[in-house]
Every structure is written in C-alpha cells, then in structure tokens.
Symmetry: C2
Subunit: 363 residues, 2 copies
Amino acid sequence: MNSHRAVSPPEPQSLFLRASLGLEVEQTPIWLMRQAGRYLPEYREVRKKAGDFLSLCKNPDLAAQVTLQPVERFGLDAAILFSDILVVPEAMGMVLQFLEGEGPHFSKPLTRLSDLDRLNLPDPEVQLDYVLATIRAIRRQLPAHIPLIGFSGSPWTLATYMVEGGSSKKFTQIKTALYNDPVFLEGLLERLVTAVVHYLNAQIAHGVDAVQIFDTWGGVLGPEEYRRFSLEPMARIVAGLNRQRPDGSRVPVIVFSKGCGGYLETIATSGCDVIGLDWTTPLAQARSRLGPGFALQGNLDPAILYASPQRIRSEVRRLLEAFGKQNGHIFNLGHGMEPNIDPNKVPVLVEAVREESRRIRAR
Amino acid sequence: MNSHRAVSPPEPQSLFLRASLGLEVEQTPIWLMRQAGRYLPEYREVRKKAGDFLSLCKNPDLAAQVTLQPVERFGLDAAILFSDILVVPEAMGMVLQFLEGEGPHFSKPLTRLSDLDRLNLPDPEVQLDYVLATIRAIRRQLPAHIPLIGFSGSPWTLATYMVEGGSSKKFTQIKTALYNDPVFLEGLLERLVTAVVHYLNAQIAHGVDAVQIFDTWGGVLGPEEYRRFSLEPMARIVAGLNRQRPDGSRVPVIVFSKGCGGYLETIATSGCDVIGLDWTTPLAQARSRLGPGFALQGNLDPAILYASPQRIRSEVRRLLEAFGKQNGHIFNLGHGMEPNIDPNKVPVLVEAVREESRRIRAR
C-alpha cells in the first residue's frame, strides 16, 4: 500500500496503531478516555431509551451506537468500546447496582477467603456475550481504518470495588486485607487475572484492535504494594493475551495506572506496548525515564476543556512542543471526559492536536 | 549542656528540632499527622463537651487539652496545635460550617474578582486570638523539651475550599478559574499569602517551635500549574516568616504537598527546611533527588496501622533500613490518622521507630 509496509508482519495503517507501536506518523493520533458519555446530548438521548446505565451497557445495539457517536461527531482516531469495568465482577456472580448520583454498589462485598467460593470464572461467550455482541455491532458500523479499543479494569482496581462494596476514599477494607489477609487478596487477584485474560482475549477474538487496562486505583498503594498487588497481576494478564493476529499483526496493550507517575519504571516491566500518563508527569520526562521502547498515551488535564478555545490551543501546543518530533505518542486526556464539559470544546482540541503535531513533525 | 552545643546559634536539644535541621540524633523522632483526633476516646470525650468541631477549635482550654492528649499517652516527640486550616478563610470573612459526615462547607463560595472585596486581611491577634490563646495554653502545660508545631493550609489548598465551597473531587470551579480567570485566582492567592504570613508569624510569636504548611491538594495540578499556583505562593510565605528567634535559634518550616512525589525538585525551591512525603515516594529516592540539604518527614501509609503489631514493626523496619543511618529524618505517616484506627497500635509504632532507629544508628 505504501513504502513503509514491510512484507511480514504487516505494518498497521491507522495513526493510532502506528503510534502504539512507535512507528512514524504524519500527525499525532487522538482519542479521549470516556469519549462516549454524558457530555454528549446524543448520548443522553440513547441513555434515556436504555433506562439505567447498566441496561445501556447490556444492550449491544445501543452500546454500539454510543460508542460510535464521538468518533462520528469529532473524527477521532480510535473508538473505545462503551462498557464498564464492573461487568466482570458482576459476571463472576456479584450483585451490581449503579445508584443514581452515588456510583457503583455491590450489596455483598467480599471480606474473607471463603467468600471467594461465591465467585465463578465467567465464560465471556456466555456471561459477557452482550459485550462481545457490542464489539461485533461496532465493528460492522465503524470504518475499517478506525481501530476499536477494548478494555478491562485491572485486578487491583476491580478488587477495590469488590472488597469495599463500591467507590472508596480511604480503601480501608482492602488495605486491611492487604496487610492482614494477603492470602484472601492474592486469591481474589488470581481469580481476576484469569477472568480478565479470558475476557480480553474474547474481546480480541470478536474484533477489538487494541486493549487498555484501566488501573484507576494503583496510585493509592506504596511502591512495594503497587508492584505486588497492582502491577504483577497486570503483567500476568499481559502475558496471557493473544497479541498476535493470524496475519502477524500485533494487538497493542495499553496500561494506565492513574497517579503512578512515580512508578513508571515498574509499569515498564508489565510487558505492555503503551503506557498511559495522567497530567502530573511531563511526556518528555516519561520518555527519558522509559526510553523509546514504549509509546506514551496522554496527558492533558481534562479540566483544560473548561478553558477558552484559545487557551486549549496554547496548552496543546505547549504539550506537543515539549515532546517534539519523537514517535510513539497517542494524544489523550490524563483522565476521563467530565459530564459537564461543553462538547464544542472537543473539535478545538482535536484540530489543535492535528495542526500542531503536523507543524512540529514537518519541521 | 553537652559537647554538641555550639556558642551561637544554639543547637536545639529536642530530637524533632535536631532532625528538622539535619543534625545528628541517637534515634528518629516521631509525631503523627492528626495525632489529636477522633481515634482517641479521650478526644471524643472532650469533643462532646465542646459541642461541634469548630467550637472545639475555638475553645483554647479544650483545644490545648486535646493537643496534649496524644503526646502524654504515647510520648510523641512533638505536639501539633489542634485547629483546622479553614479558620483562616473564616477569619477573612467567609461563613464556615462543618456539616456532620459531610465535611466543611462555605455558604457563599468565591466566584469572581469582585468577590475578593468580601475578604478582609485578618489581624491574628483579633480574629484568630483563640488560636494564639490555645498556643499559650499548650506551651504552659507541654514539657519544655517537647516542641510545638504550628500550621496553616497552603494558599492553593485554602483557595480550593473557598472557590468550590467545600471538599471537592474534580476541582471544576477552581480549575475553570485557573484557566479562564487567573487574575481572580492570583488575587485570591495573594491575599491568602499575606494572611498566612501574619498568621504563622503570630503563631511563632506566641510560642510554636516549628510550622508546617499543609498543601493537601497541590497534587491535582500539572507541573506548571503546581509551580505557579501552589508552590510559588508557599515560597512567598516561607520568605515572609520570622524564622530566627532572638536567641538565634531557628524555627524550621515543613512543606507537605500530598501526591507531589513528582514535584520534589520544585518543592525544594520553596525555601523550607523539611519536606513532607506521602507513602508513594521512598525516602531514599527523595534523599538522592534532593540531596542532604533538606530533612524529610514521613512516610508510612496510615493504613499500615490496620495491620497486626508484628506487621507494623516489620514495615517500620523496612522503611528505616532503606533510609539507613542518614540524618534529617522525622518519622510520620504519609497522611493523617484515621478515626477508626485502634489507638493501641500507636505505641507499637512509636516503640518500633525508636528501637529500630537506635539499632540502625548504633551500627
């Protein structure tokens, strides 16, 4: 197709996949965490039809529709599956509710080793069939040149919800388990590793082009605890994924541990291709610490989308200029889109990333 | 008094002050953030007498009593003034309430430049006289060899509450101001710098031996924003403090920016003597990045106090062994004591710090 293409394995053509693998691109690809969501009026319309949040996740047609909305509206360089990380614990047998304004809730949190007997190892083709149906529906409608990103929560992050019973500020229950009952916690993490490997491999088999592991709560752990309870289970997942397609092409794996700028060297041992960064670690610093072997994803503070178009542009310029012409960068926010962001700010961001990155790369 | 004593300036004798200034100690001093608080039954008794939390802060006799409780019970190496960072915004004219189970609340948050006209510059001897009376009451009862630490919130941290109207998760209002109305935010920070300088100098004049600036929310900012909106106002405060007593002795200044392990080199430009660390940055790493010119305070995860006595001891040993025989370390938690911690765990911690640090230093 073009002169960059090697005989084997085939070089990907999409900006996102090329950047994920550190290949040259003419402009920096961009997608946004939580790009499908409440800030979009067309999302809120579909959500109304579906009923509650979990019903939307479980309706493949509607979930596919909201997945595609931001890609169509903004011309983003990747779609990300619309779903929730907590469908995995639910598929394992836990009773999940999303209480309006309060977030997720598990009615019977896990407290001890014997509670693990309540968990089953889900067959994604059965208990999570609706996710796989969503992936197929998206793939049918998404232009072939736009990659679809699948995802899962990290075992540690999933475990926090399963042990605390929902969102937490202090993580008292799970940290108590970590220090007093590591056999219980390790057993839970072990089951989650297996479940997530099956789940992500099923996502890959049904058509996602890349996967991201969201480790939202790794940053509440100290360095040794992060390594043992957050990173190590993620590394076992990465090792278990089918990352090579039959045609030899690679399915890149992104690891995003929020609040873990201090642990980048540890994250680098996970086996991932791409490391997600929040906005507290400059890209150039991350690159110099990690070397060119990892692509970087990030890392604008989502709050910058509250600023004026002019200010958004200047922040994008500053970020891209500081990283320069290096390969292996996927533009993203350092955290998800907020529900109260004006959707009209997104085209400003997308355009700024394209214009500025082309300008810098053309120098 | 002993051979370490120089003619001028006098060398402090207390472990805490010696460690703050990087001087040799025979064992590592320990105090605990929020050491006076709800986890202590004797605190809850006094709190009942006082009524609500703010009434306790404003009652010098009772506030002094709860300040002294943990020092007497556990033999800690320093007392910390019992108060709240939000008494400063209140003294500036804002209406502060502590709603049970909901945290602090300002009924009329600041939203624009003209709102700053509502703020006055408090005279600590008038609007904050109860804090100064508390300090005098503590100083009368505290043994002379135990230092008393005074404190304030950082301007950035105080501003988050004043602009958001209370605790926040996303900091939407203040970040919007940061990007869209920096003149308003800078004006607010400027007033807070002046108010805090006066406040901390009054604390020093009335008898505190050291001061800590609590920057609880610096970590929600990116590197450039942290430098401009959090660090720079703190540096102006440090520059404005009366750190030299008439006898030539020094009042050490501690800066603690939570979640800012990535910004230690920036914090080092603040002019402080001691840098507080949360549990995500190893002490030895901080020392090698900062050099021996700064004492370090921290940094056990408070959640370790949920563990068994044996485990607490082994975590303390690990932490102290990793830092070794170097001077300039004050043992503390990486964040405040939680209300549900068993007070009987504290003597285990204190004893472990003393035994292990003596053992390591005697080698």
